[in-house]
Assembly symmetry: C2
Homo-oligomer: 389 residues x 2
C-alpha cells in the first residue's frame, strides 16, 4: 500500500485546526487558577463576539445534546405546550427530549430533505397561544436542509413563547443574527465549525429566555443555566471543565476572530455552492434542493447504488471519512461536509475522488467534470476576493 | 527568572500520563467508524477490568458530577427516601443533587476531617426501612478522609436499598471490591487516578441497581443509563463522545493494566503514608488523622499561617499547583495529592519545597527532616519490592 492519509470530512467531528489540537498538550493546568480563568473568560467573551450577540453565553462539558437537554430542563415545566419543527434525525431528537420531560408536544414535520416553512410556525402559534417554546434546527445535519430561523424568530417574537435553535451545525455556516432575529436560545458544539474535538457544548440565552428559568419546575442538576452563569461571571465553570478542550477552543476562537465570522460563514457557503454545482454537473441529485444548508450537502446515490458503497470506497481508496445517511436515509444519501477546518483544496480532492468512485461503480462520469465546477466557483471567488493573505 | 517548570499536583486534575496526552493528537477520527468503536470498546472493557467488576460500565461526556446526576435521575423517583453520608464538600453535593430531584433526604453528617461511621448507616437503614439508596464518597477529596464503603456495602446489601459510591478520587487510590462489597453504583472520572484531562465520567452498575431503572420516574435525557448500555454494547456512545479524551483514556488504561490496579492503589497508599510521616515529622497536624484517604492528604496550616500562603508560595517559588482547602476549609488546610501520574521523586521535591516554604514563613523546620521521612518509606518499599522494572 502507498501513502494514504487519514482525512476526516464529516459534518462533525470536522477537520481539526492543528494549533488548537496542539494547545491541548498544555492541559496540565488547574481549573481554579488565574491562568485557567483567563482562558475560560476569553472563550466565553470570544464566543459572544463570534456569535455576535449581547446575550449571555454559557458552556458545558458535554456534547451538543447536553445543551439541548439543558434548554428543556431549565426553561420549562411538565405539561407545557411546545412546538417542535422536525425535518430529520435532530428534529426527532427535540421531540424525544420534550417527551422525556413530559411536555405536551405539537410536531410540525417536514419530509426528510425538506424543511418546515416559517408560516407553519406562525399558524401553530396562533392555534396554540399557550405554547411556551418553539424548537428547531438551524441546519438539519442529517438531511442537509436549512430552516428559515429568521422568519421563525419574527413569528415567535410576537408571542409569549421562546425560540430554541439547535445551531450545532448552523453556527459558522449560515448567517444567524441572534439578537435582531430573536433567537432566544442558540446552541453550538465544539466539534463543528469550531474545528476542535467533541466534548464542549455552549448556548446563548436571551433576557426573555432567562425569565423562563424563574418559572420552570423541571428538575435538573448537572445542567444548571443560572448556576453556570454565576460561575462564568467569575471566570469558572460550575463543575470541573474539560480543560483540554477549553484550551483548544481558545486557540480556534483566536483563529476564527482573526478571519471574522462573516468570512467563516462565507467559506462554508462557497464550498456548499461549489459542491452542489459539482454533483449536479456529474448527474447526481441533491437531497435537499429547496433549502440547502451550507453545513453539509446531502446527495442521493445514483439509482441502484447503495450510498454506503461511496462512503466505503472513500475510506478504502482515499482514507477519507465522509458521512452516510442516518437512520432511514442510510444507503440512500451521502453527505459532503463544509464546516470545520475545510478549504477549496480539500474540495478539489473530494470531488476528484468522488468521480473515480462513481466511475468504478457503474456510474460513468467524465473525469474532471465535477472538479471543473468547483474550480469555476473558486475562480469567481478569487476574482471577487484577490489573494492577499 | 531561572527555569521553573509548571507542575500540577492537585487531587484532580492530576499529573498527566504523557503518552495519553499525545494520543489526543489523533482525534481526527469519526465516532461512528470501526476504528473508533475499537477504542471505545477497549476503554469499556479495560475500565471493567481495572475496576475489577462484572457489573456493566458506562461512560459519559461530562465531568464526574454528570455521573452523580445520572445515578439519581435514572434510579429514583420524586419523594423517595434516601440516606446521604456527608463529610465534606462532595457529600454536600450529594445532598444538593438529591434535593434538586425532590428526594426525601436523611443526612448523616460528620464534621470536616472525620467520616461517617458505617454503623450509623446500618442504624439509619433500620430506622428508615423504606430508604431506596445510600450515597457516599469513598474518598472525600475536600478533607482527605475515607469512608469504610466495605462495611457500608455489607449493611446496605441486607436492605432493599442500593449503595451509590462517588469513587471519583477513590478509584485507583484504595481497594474497592465492587462486586464482593456490594457497591451497586461506583462513579469515576478521567482526571483523577486515570491521569488524563477532565471531561469523561464513568460508572459501574449492579444488577440490583439496574432494577431501579425500571421503576424510576424522574425525567432525564442526556444521562440515560439504559440507552448508554445499549449503545456501549454496540461499541458506541449514545451522543457524540469526547473522542480526544477517549483516545487518551485508551492509552492510560493500557498503562494501568500493565502496572496492575493493585500496584496503582499501592502507589497512592505509599505516597500518602510517606506524606503523613513527613508532615508530622515537620510538626504539622493532619486534618483527617482517623481515616486518612490515600487520594490526598489534607494538612492543617501552622497556627497563625493562612494555608493560602503555602499554596501561593508553591506556585510562585516552584511553579507547582497544590490545593488549598475548599469552602470553609479554605485558608485552614492545604492538600497534597497522591493520585494520577505521581511518583516518589515528585514527593521528594514537594516535601523539600514545603520545608523551604515553612521556614520562609515563620515556621522554622530543619531542612531534610520531612524528605528523610519520605526517603525512609521509599527504602522500606524498595527493600520489599526490588527495583527490576
Amino acid at each position: 500500500m502507498h501513502i494514504r492519509k487519514q482525512r476526516l470530512l464529516t459534518p462533525g467531528p470536522t477537520p481539526l485546526y492543528p494549533p488548537a489540537l496542539h494547545a491541548m498538550m498544555a492541559s496540565d493546568i488547574h481549573h481554579r487558577t488565574e491562568d485557567f480563568r483567563k482562558a475560560y473568560r476569553s472563550c466565553l467573551a470570544d464566543l459572544k463576539e463570534v456569535m455576535g450577540t449581547s446575550n449571555d453565553v454559557l458552556m458545558f462539558a458535554a456534547s451538543g445534546t447536553g445543551a439541548m437537554d439543558a434548554a428543556v430542563s431549565n426553561l420549562l415545566s411538565k405539561g407545557d405546550k411546545v412546538i417542535v419543527c422536525s425535518a430529520g434525525k435532530f428534529g426527532e431528537r427535540w421531540v424525544e427530549i420534550a417527551k422525556a420531560y413530559g411536555l405536551d408536544v405539537t410536531v410540525l414535520s417536514a419530509p426528510y430533505g425538506k424543511s418546515v416553512p416559517a408560516p407553519q410556525v406562525e399558524a401553530a402559534l396562533a392555534h396554540e397561544p399557550a405554547a411556551k417554546a418553539v424548537f428547531v434546527q438551524a441546519s438539519e445535519t442529517s438531511t442537509g436542509a436549512a430552516h428559515d430561523v429568521r422568519a421563525m424568530g419574527r413569528a415567535v417574537s410576537h408571542s409569549d413563547a421562546i425560540l430554541v435553535v439547535d445551531a450545532i451545525t448552523g453556527l459558522g455556516t449560515m448567517p444567524l443574527d441572534i439578537d435582531a432575529w430573536g433567537l432566544d436560545i442558540l446552541i453550538g458544539g465544539s466539534q463543528k465549525a469550531f474545528m476542535i474535538p467533541p466534548g464542549l457544548a455552549f448556548l446563548s440565552i436571551s433576557p426573555k429566555a432567562w425569565k423562563f428559568t424563574e418559572t420552570s419546575t423541571l428538575p435538573h442538576y448537572y445542567f444548571n443555566l443560572k448556576k453556570e452563569k454565576k460561575s462564568g461571571d467569575a471566570g469558572e465553570s460550575s463543575w470541573t471543565p474539560a480543560t483540554a478542550l477549553i484550551l483548544a477552543l481558545a486557540e480556534s476562537l483566536r483563529y476564527i476572530k482573526q478571519m471574522g465570522m462573516t468570512k467563516l460563514v462565507e467559506n462554508a457557503q462557497m464550498l456548499a455552492h461549489a459542491t452542489r454545482r459539482a454533483v449536479v454537473s456529474l448527474g447526481l441529485e441533491l437531497f435537499a434542493p429547496d433549502s440547502p444548508a451550507s453545513s453539509a450537502t446531502a446527495v442521493r446515490a445514483p439509482a441502484g447504488m447503495d450510498s454506503g458503497i461511496i462512503v466505503k470506497e472513500f475510506r478504502n481508496r482515499f482514507g477519507a471519512v465522509i458521512a452516510n445517511g442516518q437512520g432511514s436515509m442510510k444507503g440512500q444519501i451521502f453527505r459532503i461536509a463544509h464546516l470545520g477546518y475545510f478549504d477549496f483544496t480539500d474540495l478539489f480532492a473530494v470531488v476528484a475522488g468522488l468521480e473515480i468512485i462513481l466511475n468504478a461503480n457503474g456510474f460513468p462520469v467524465k473525469y474532471g467534470t465535477g472538479v471543473a465546477a468547483v474550480q469555476e466557483i473558486y475562480e469567481q471567488v478569487a476574482v471577487r476576493q484577490p489573494v492577499t493573505a
